[in-house]
């Protein structure tokens, strides 16, 4: 919490200082400027700045000058080029296209009720004809690269549709010449050798869920007649071996696993990290539970205080850092996203943490019945009776019509940080992002109130932790954090453009 500084006069910043935002971090004051540079100053230095004192040639003057905080020292061309680079995602439309090929799922998860159906609900399967229309629409994006992500339900339940989409998209893409990729989010329990062969041959990247050590995972993801954990682990190992057999680097090519942090998981930060590392995962995404996909009455059982989550996050990431200090290369995904912006000045285009957000203009979700949504979150809200984020139907929609839809315009406006109270003055504004669907779901307003936003609490907590580490400036830790910002492209999974 910021302490009051007794100035004895009206604050008056030095005339050469650019607009700043500031926040207490680990006893010092963190300053950020509108283009994302940052610098720490001491409380005394900050008090001097607030009095308008800044002596040329002083230590603080030099640090401010080096970090583009002094007007007279800013390289305007360089800063402008950097800003253009960071916002380059605005030049293109959605690159992520999520296909809900079925709502049927063979697992029952504590945090996922409304967006799944029983295994006999065959009417929730996407038909091949509808799937083709989804592909046709997705390929019209202005993005030169697209990823089709198979979701559910459990996509392996509707594997024929998955296969059809892959073949049809590859064939249709000859006319478009986009860099095309496929991913599948699956619990893996319905995998078999034939399916695996197809997926590996067609370079479909696989992603699964691991909710922690076996007892937690099995309890949260109930698989009738079996262990969801052991099924997942068995296939993770098989798939990773298949990549090695292809001669791919296992540190880059392996099954990605995602954590949904539940109340039980909060108690086991170190054990969760150990579980992931033992499975060969090199990236751990410590996601808090989100408010979508289950009915309102379930929320009370699922939700938890985000202060507990922040404590969990700190303990888990400290444990990950310890692994790295011992030579194991493993990163935390949230940290990597923020650090890429903080340390590299790049925007990794993570759709939920960018400004404006990635709903519709960064991603589209296609439901089994042909309805199109601004995001998967919007699709899940539809399953709980809220149609706010339906923007069309693949049978009738045009690509430009979707992008110009009034809901899309509202989502853009609501996710520009400079529009939001709190965000506009938040020190972390250059690195952060808001998710309007989350605001709508939890607060009943697209714009949201950040003071009450659980997502804001998580984002701020993570950035506080990272800046504390940067303030400590331990060389080994900073080197590890910098390494997490190195993006290694998985080119094997890209079907390179070959327009004919």
């Amino acid at each position: 919490m910021t302490q009051l500084i007794s100035l004895g006069q009206k604050p008056a910043a030095p005339p050469d200082l650019v607009p700043i935002r500031f926040r207490d971090v680990a006893g010092d004051v963190l300053l950020t400027n509108p283009w994302g540079d940052w610098v720490f100053v001491s409380q005394a230095e900050f008090a001097d700045l607030a009095r308008g004192h800044l002596a040329a040639g002083s230590d603080v003057y030099t640090r401010l000058a080096e970090r583009n905080f002094l007007r007279s020292k800013v390289d305007v061309e360089k800063v402008a080029a950097a800003m253009r680079n960071k916002k380059r995602f605005l030049d293109y439309g959605p690159n992520l296209h999520m296909f809900v090929v079925t709502l049927r799922c063979n697992e029952t998860c504590v945090y996922c009720h409304a967006s799944r159906a029983e295994m006999d609900a065959v009417h929730t399967d996407m038909t091949p004809e509808l799937a083709e229309k989804c592909v046709d629409l997705a390929l019209q994006t202005t993005s030169p690269a697209i990823t089709i992500e198979f979701q559910g339900g459990e996509p392996l339940v509707a594997f024929d549709t998955v296969k059809h989409v892959v073949k049809y998209a590859l064939q249709r893409n000859r006319a478009y010449g986009k860099d095309l990729g496929f991913t599948m989010v699956s619990n893996l329990s319905l995998m078999d050798d034939e399916k695996l062969k197809f997926l590996v041959e067609h370079k479909v990247q696989m992603c699964t869920s691991i909710d922690g050590p076996e007892p937690i995972h099995t309890k949260q993801r109930v698989l009738v007649g079996g262990s969801s954990y052991f099924e997942s682990v068995k296939w993770i190992e098989r798939i990773n071996k298949a990549y090695i057999d292809l001669g791919l680097d296992p540190t880059l090519y392996h099954v990605e696993a995602l954590l949904t942090t539940t109340r039980d998981a909060l108690k086991k930060p170190r054990e969760i990290v150990d579980t992931y590392i033992n499975l060969g995962c090199r990236a751990i995404f410590l996601r808090p539970v989100d408010p979508f996909g289950f009915a309102e009455k379930t929320r009370a059982k699922i939700e938890y205080d985000r202060a507990e989550y922040r404590e969990f996050y700190r303990t888990a990431v400290e444990h990950i850092l310890d692994y790295n200090r011992r030579g194991e290369q493993v990163l935390e995904r949230y940290a990597a996203i923020f650090l890429t912006k903080i340390l590299q000045g790049e925007d990794p285009n993570f759709l939920d943490i960018r400004s404006p957000g990635g709903s519709a203009i960064g991603a589209l979700a296609y439901n089994y019945d042909g309805k199109i949504f601004t995001s998967d979150e919007g699709r899940m809200m539809h399953e709980t009776g809220d149609d706010s984020f339906v923007i069309g139907d693949v049978r009738t929609a045009t690509y430009r019509g979707l992008m110009k839809h009034e809901t899309v315009r509202a989502l853009i406006l609501a996710s520009i940080r400079e529009v939001q109270p709190d965000c506009v003055s938040c020190t972390y504004a250059p690195y952060c992002g808001v998710q309007p669907e989350h605001n709508h779901r939890t607060q009943g307003t697209l714009f949201g109130r950040m003071r009450e936003s659980t997502l804001c609490s998580v984002h701020k907590g993570i950035q506080d932790f990272l800046f504390e580490k940067l303030r400590e400036n331990d060389p080994k830790t900073v080197e590890i954090l910098r390494r997490w910002t190195t993006v290694r492209e998985r080119t094997h999974f890209v079907h390179a453009s070959a327009a004919s």
Partner: protein, 190 residues
């Protein structure tokens, strides 16, 4: 960094109507009424703040007197209401909406720039599908309601202009298509 918001707030029961400061809150049977000076908040902020409650409450806006606005929230059936909490939430939302309007006005140029770039980049140029979606048939294909295909002289009846009732101007439909389907995929990025 924490912000403090100072204001005056008085909460009374219906039985305890006390004259008050700038904001009055009256708790009734299943309702809460909040009155305030309309000059505090722009009208759009009042509408926006009241709208946030429509899923939980029936919302009534009224004028309570000279430059006073009254917002009445009546809980929908089956939805228990904490009147005091609703009143507080409404006031917080009023503040948020008003401030947001002010921020948006201050940053209008930036917001418009980002929004138009986001929409323009995502939507791309018009494609063949939009042209095909237009209501064009044999009878209307050569309509030129804006007189785009007319010469300047024809359009403004200047010297040498065609007589009234001359042949309809010919529009070249093929020239209006910016991009055929495959090209609509957009240029490559680095």
């Amino acid at each position: 960094m924490d912000y403090g918001v100072s204001g005056t707030l008085a909460v009374h029961t219906a039985d305890e109507e006390v004259s008050m400061s700038d904001i009055t809150t009256v708790l009734g049977e299943g309702t809460v009424t909040v009155e305030f000076d309309e000059s505090f908040y722009p009208k759009d902020a009042i509408y926006g703040a009241a709208y946030v409650f429509i899923d939980r409450c029936y919302v009534h806006l009224d004028r309570a007197g000279d430059k006073r606005v009254r917002v009445t929230l009546r809980a929908k059936s089956g939805k228990p209401a904490d009147g005091e909490a609703l009143a507080g939430e409404l006031q917080n939302e009023l503040l948020g909406q008003a401030w947001r309007l002010s921020i948006a006005a201050e940053n209008r140029q930036l917001i418009e720039s980002i929004t138009s770039r986001a929409l323009g980049g995502a939507a791309g140029p018009p494609g063949l599908d939009e042209l095909l979606a237009m209501d064009i048939d044999e009878a209307t294909a050569f309509d030129d309601p804006l007189g785009i295909a007319m010469s300047w002289e024809e359009k403004y009846k200047k010297k040498g202009a065609a007589d009234e009732g001359a042949d309809a101007p010919k529009a070249d439909a093929s020239a209006s298509s910016d991009a055929a389907e495959p090209n609509a995929a957009g240029e490559k990025s680095s």
